[in-house]
Structures are given as structure tokens and as C-alpha cells.
Amino acid sequence: MSELTREPVPQGEYFETNRFAGLSLGLGVGALVGLVLCLIGAFVSPLQFSFSWMFGFILFFTMCNGCLFWIIVHYATDAEWTVVVRRQLENIAVLLLALAILAIPILLLRHQLFEWTNIPPGQDHVLDSKRQYLNWPFFIFRAVLYFVLLGGMAYLLRRFSVAQDRDGSPRFTIWMRKVSFGGLPIFGLALTFAAFDWLMGLNYRWYSTMWGPYIFAGSVGSSMSLLVLVITALRKAGYLKIVTLEHYHIMGKWMLAFCIFWAYIGFGQYMLYWYANIPEETQFFIVRNTQSWWPLSLLLVFGRFFAPFGILLLRSIKKHPHQLCWVAGWLVFMQALDMYIIVLPALHGTGVRLSIWDLICPLTIGCSLAFVYLRILGRASMFPVRDPRLIESLRLSN
């Protein structure tokens, strides 16, 4: 109803880095201590450490990619509601550049992680027929390419968006739209092949055509949950009061949508394997549905679909930031569980063997990224002040 009410354009809101110097220091120290511990771990128990690191890395990799996806979709669909929360999506997505550094241990520990790197040609026919793709130089090339493409997109989108804060020129919106339209297929392919390389590659005998969408569904859904948590934390700290219950309602709807989409893809993958019953396909689920992995798989099914589905159906939950945060936190935890039972059974095929590194690695990566995030946060306004669609986003009603 733009003709009816004229609201003043809000001024930019800036994160007071000094106010949170203590938190920043704590995270920095945590990251440093963690990295030193990880360095020790890499030498003391390289096998366990490499899988734990992969678990932590892939957890944050998927969530940062999910945020990148939301920005791309924002421009591709010319959405308006996302504008007030978009800067935080940009801040999280650009962490992909930091994750590129944290991916180095995976390349160094390849002989622990990827069995195929240890088998010389001529020993395993299954592997030999995949050598065109699964060979070390090409693997490195792809890993670099993923980060250049995904990180580059995240960097460009944030850079243009911040540049628009200064003069409000709509040409930045046009540029970002171009990046997004080009970026849609690139994003889909890069995330799919990254999931092939780093997760499916943990067992070179296994394959799934649903793997890309499965990882995509998990990362996009959990990144929306992460966004809810980040926005609520910033509101608690006194910022971003322009985010209203209407925005929470939409974020809650997306959480519900991707909760269903994840279940749809996950079940589609499971049921086709279950029905066809071909050994080289079912091996993935046999490991995860037997021994002590079975309760965890069940927890994933009920905790990630049935419970949140029932809860998120209620409109009152979606319009209640505090309650929505509990669901969002739970869904992020479920994403961690999902990644855990993708990565770790590749090492402990006979049952769950919890290790201290399963905790230290994700905490270290999380602290490092949170530290970088707080640094980035103070560099620009908390929301895109001069975005052409800001006013529409402020007056959102749905």
C-alpha cells in the first residue's frame, strides 16, 4: 500500500565491534587453541582426525552454500522480503573464502579419507573404470574450481551489495541479477560435484543419483534455520529491529518447505534402493541401518522430518521468534547429525565410535568462522540501506 503511508527511509545500522570485543577475542582464542589441538590431532590419530575434520568442514560448507543459494534466489526471483535479512546471508556466504583455507587439511589427509587414493591402477576394476574422474590432479583442480566459483560468487554478490549502500545505484542490482542468473546452474553443479567428490568419494564403490539434491536440500534448509538464529541473536543484541514477525513467518515457512523437501529427497533415495535391493547400492544404508548407527538414522528421520514438520505447520510457532529459534537450533543440530552419519560410518562401519575429535573439529571450524563473521559484520551496514526494494521489504505483510 505504498500510496498510503510514507515512512522515512531507515538509516544504516552498524555493528559496534568494540562492544563485542570480548566475544570476538574469545572466539579468536577458541579458534587458535582449536587449531593447535587439531594440528596435534592430525599427528596423534590421523585417521580419526581426518574424518572428524571432514565432518566439521562439510557441516559449515553446506550451511554457507545454503546462504549463497538464498542470495542467488533472491535476485533470480526479484524477491522483496529477503532485503532486510540479505546482508547477513551475504556475510555468511562470503565465509566460503575462509572455508577454502580450512579445506586444505582434507587435501593433505587424502590418504586417510579417500581409499581410492591408495589403490594403484589395475587392482580394482570398479575403480579403474572411474579413474577418468577419480584421479588426484583432476580432484585438486575441481576442489579449487568449486571454491573459486562459489566463493567468487559470494564475494561478488556481497561486494556489489555493499557498493550499493553508498550511492543506491540500481545498476548494482542489475549486475547482481546477472551474477545470480549465471550463478544458478553454476551453484547447482558445483555443490553437486563437491558432494560427489568429498562425500560420495569416501566410498568409491557406492553411488547415488540423488546425492546432489540430497545435500542441497539439507544445506538450504539448515542455512535458513541458521539465518533465523543469526537474525534473532542480532536482534537480542539490539540491532535489526526492522525485521518483523512477518519476516519470521516467511523464514519459518521456508524452514517447513525444506524440511519437507529434504524428507522427499531422502526418502526417494532410500526407497528406490530398498526396492531394487542391489548390493552395491544398498551397502550405504546397510552400514547406517545396522549396529549402533540405526538409532541415529531413526533419530534423523523423526527429528529432522516428522517432529519439525508437525511443529512448523503451526502458524503461531512461525510468528514467535523465541519458539522458532528452538526449532531452528534443532534443525541445525539435525544437519550436523545428518553430516555425521554420512561421514563417520565410512570409518566406523561396525558401529558408532564417538571421539573427542568429533567435537573439537566442528567447534574449531565454527569458532574460526564466527570470528571472521564478526570481523566482516562491522565492515558494512547490517542491512542493505539503499536497496531499491528496501521499503517494500520493510512493509512486508503476508
Binding site: 500500500m1 500510496e3 498510503l4 526418502f267 526407497m271 530398498w274 526396492y275 535391493n277 505447520l313
Partner: protein, 184 residues
């Protein structure tokens, strides 16, 4: 109440120049405490629910009931024969309740189907459909509602309805061509 020609009166309607004017008028009519009234526009107007004071629709409750009926129907029709009445080993698959993965597509589809039926029919009933005609069509100007007309009508059976005062209220809100609409 009757018109001068002896018809029953459906209500009083007014035309508004824009969606914004209709939106503001709806707020006024809502605040005046009317219950049986409606607005008509060529396209959905954002925020109109709130401007009209419409609460949350209870359609969702009906849909939930439909969905639960669908789930139960599917479970009974699938589990009943294959687990309880006539267990049969197919493909070496389990034949107890564990056969449930094979049933999921049907469970899913019947849930959707029953929810959709519940939504469709409950929505028809809630809107008073199907019906052959509506008194608003007795007003020639109302034909523009599918093009560029914005209308508001207050029904005569609203407890607060009175010919002069309602007409006066519509005039105050900027309504044009205020007309009394008769029933068939």
C-alpha cells in the same frame, strides 16, 4: 426492507476509485462494527484480511482432518491386507509392519488427495458456492469488478445496518455511485 419496486434488499454497495481507497474504506467499515459485508476487487489486495478484520480462516483445520483421514485410509488399506489379512512374501521383502517403505508413496498421495478434497469442498461451502447468481450482479456497474472496479457492499441483514446511516458511512469513506442492491 423492500425497494420501491417491491424487491427484498440485499444491501448497499459503493464503488471506490482505487485499491488504496477501498483498503482505507474497509478499515472504516470494520471499525464501525459491521460483520456481514464484503469487498470486491479485480485482484487480491495485500493486507486486506487485516483491514477487514477477518480472523484466521478455519479452513486449515478441515484440511488437517482431511490429511489425517488420508493417512489412516492408506495405512489401513495397505497394512490391513499385506500384514494382517493376507501376508505375502514379495521380492523377499519383509511382510510385517516393516514393509512400510513400499507403502510410503501411497500414504503420501492419499494424504495429499484427501487434504486437497477437504480444502476444495470446505472452501466451496465456506464461500457459499456453488450458486447460480449473486445479488451484486443486479448492479450494472459491478461488471467492472473483473477489470478496474473496486466495490464494497454491506448486507442488509447485518445487525447494524440501517439505510441512512450505512449510506452515510459509505459516503464518508469516499464511496461513489452508492446504490441499493436488490435480491432476485
Amino acid at each position: 426492507m423492500k425497494t420501491p419496486y417491491g424487491h427484498n434488499v440485499y444491501g448497499i454497495a459503493a464503488e471506490y476509485p482505487s485499491a488504496a481507497a477501498l483498503y482505507e474504506a474497509a478499515k472504516r467499515v470494520r471499525d464501525a462494527g459491521f460483520k456481514r459485508w464484503d469487498v470486491f476487487s479485480p485482484f487480491p489486495i495485500h493486507g486486506m484480511d487485516e483491514a477487514m478484520g477477518l480472523g484466521k480462516s478455519w479452513l486449515s483445520a478441515v484440511v488437517l482432518a482431511g490429511g489425517i483421514t488420508g493417512i489412516l485410509t492408506a495405512l489401513i488399506l495397505e497394512w490391513g491386507p499385506s500384514w494382517i489379512l493376507y501376508p505375502l512374501i514379495v521380492h523377499g521383502k519383509p511382510f510385517t509392519w516393516r514393509v512400510v517403505p513400499a507403502f510410503f508413496p501411497i500414504i503420501f498421495e492419499l494424504t495429499i488427495l484427501f487434504s486437497a478434497f477437504a480444502a476444495f469442498f470446505a472452501w466451496q461451502i465456506m464461500n457459499g458456492l456453488p450458486r447460480w447468481n449473486h445479488p451484486m450482479f443486479n448492479w450494472n456497474r459491478f461488471a467492472r469488478v473483473t477489470n478496474d472496479g473496486f466495490f464494497l457492499a454491506i448486507e442488509a441483514n447485518d445487525p447494524r445496518f440501517s439505510e441512512e446511516e450505512t449510506q452515510h458511512l459509505l459516503e464518508e469513506t469516499g464511496g461513489q455511485h452508492i446504490t441499493m442492491i436488490h435480491e432476485e
